[in-house]
Amino acid sequence: MSAMKEFSKGLWKENPVLVLMLGMCPTLAVTSSATNGLGMGVATLCVLMCSNAVISAIRGIVPKKIRIPVYIVVIATFVTIVDFVMQAYAPTALYEALGIFIPLIVVNCIVLGRAEAFASKNGIGKSVLDGLGMGLGFTLSLVVLGGTREFLAGGSLFQVKMVPGWTTDFMLMTSAPGAFIILGLFLAGMNQLNIRKAKREGKTYTPPGLDCRQCNICDLGGE
């Protein structure tokens, strides 16, 4: 697989939020505005790249049995660093808005998941590219989600009013239900696009990891 593919799969095909559905907790919590989404995304991106690099580097020497604690320590270290950096240099409003969700990157499924599924099996270069791609995919999704919510709530983007006459804020969009509604609509749209694409190619679309044939819980089978 080419380096480009490692990088680009996280952006669309295996987008962590919209396809793999990882990291739902920060996604729902911090996307009330595009800025928050961007901050959270960049923070995760940094952690993801660094931890992927380190875990890939030490993959040969970590015993299989204690790999999870080791990964956690590595990830926690970078999260702590990012936390300090953001506290020092990021706008206070942003840092406060993200709040507990920065330390919580430690247990973000995307970071741990990529470490376990990818970095622990691949070389450093590939792992960094994977981390970069996944992180960018995450950031993009969060910015788009946050941007959509921000725009629908008050017609602004990155705190800049886009629609001049829009005076009444539609607060449903910035509150928790809005997060679920918009995320759900995005997921539906994403599935629809993929289904259409698969249909054009004469295949049936099943999201990665959600192939019905792999699971016998229901007896629907097939599609």
Partner: protein, 275 residues
């Protein structure tokens, strides 16, 4: 530099203590697992169709490793898959012939008498009402119960008739039991000549309701070699023990086109063939 020192020492100490705990726990709760099961499971196609008789691929893998089943029992495995699994487990790979489903009916809407039916579009439900509202009591109803049961999309409902695509069929047999008219049989994939009719009625009665019924004229029996086609009441069937070659269809000039090649039937080449 106190902070750095404290960080290093505390992290190191906690790591050491927890490492000991993990070591002890790993020893105390060690579970023997047979990694061969996992490996065999990976080699299996993962269709979970149940065609082998076990509850999914994982269960089958367990049975294969435990020598309770042979890899060849998996209907979906290609011969290569079977060879790989057998090689991995160090057992003899048995020869296995691919089997596919055949729906023994050629009566699509254009060629059969059908009654107007208003009700649930499912064969198993439709037979409750007037036997399915098809002129022929034994023919395919075309509501697609078998197609819904097929996990591989190998059955197409075309103009009120279920048609198997042999290249997609893996022989899991899921469709066989769903047909309320018992039209589906499993045959060797190498045989291409089939009689697409299963009605035991007299030829004249069949012709009244279906243009493509087998009327047991025996043209195919005479055209082929001895024993290749066998007569069964008012019906001729392929002898799957001694199958005829594909040129029989051409030679026999079946007057109703009930005698068909599965490959051409799937490709819809018999459309309007009935005279």
């Amino acid at each position: 530099m106190d902070t750095a020192l404290v960080a290093i020492v505390s992290t190191g100490a906690i790591g050491g203590v927890l490492g000991v705990v993990i070591g002890v726990v790993a020893k105390a709760f060690a579970v023997e697992t047979d990694e061969r099961i996992e490996r065999v499971g990976e080699l299996l196609p993962g269709a979970n169709c149940g065609g082998c008789g076990f509850a999914g691929c994982a269960d089958f893998a367990k049975a294969v490793v435990g020598a309770r089943a042979l890899p060849g029992q998996c209907p979906v495995c290609s011969p290569d898959d079977v060879r790989n699994i057998s090689q991995y487990l160090g057992i003899e790979a048995e020869q296995k012939e691919k089997r596919v489903a055949v729906v023994r009916c050629s009566g699509d809407c254009a060629n059969t008498v059908r009654t107007l039916y208003n009700g649930i579009r499912d064969c198993r439900s439709a037979v409750v009402v007037a036997g399915g509202a098809k002129g022929c009591d034994h023919g395919c109803l075309g509501f697609g119960s078998c197609a819904n049961a097929c996990p591989f999309g190998a059955i197409e409902i075309r103009d009120g008739l279920a048609v198997v695509h042999p290249e997609l069929c893996v022989g899991c047999e899921n469709c066989v039991a769903t047909c309320p008219k018992n039209l589906i049989v499993m045959v060797q994939a190498s045989v291409d000549v089939h009689v697409y009719c299963n009605s035991p009625e007299k030829g004249a009665a069949k012709r009244l309701v279906c243009k493509t019924a087998c009327i047991a004229c025996r043209k195919c029996v005479k055209a082929g070699e001895e024993g290749q086609m066998v007569v069964d009441g008012f019906l001729v069937r392929t002898n799957y023990e001694n199958p005829p070659t594909t040129d029989l269809v051409e030679k026999s000039q079946c007057p109703t086109s009930a005698l068909r090649l599965a490959s051409k039937h799937a490709a819809n080449e018999y459309q309007g063939a009935a005279k």
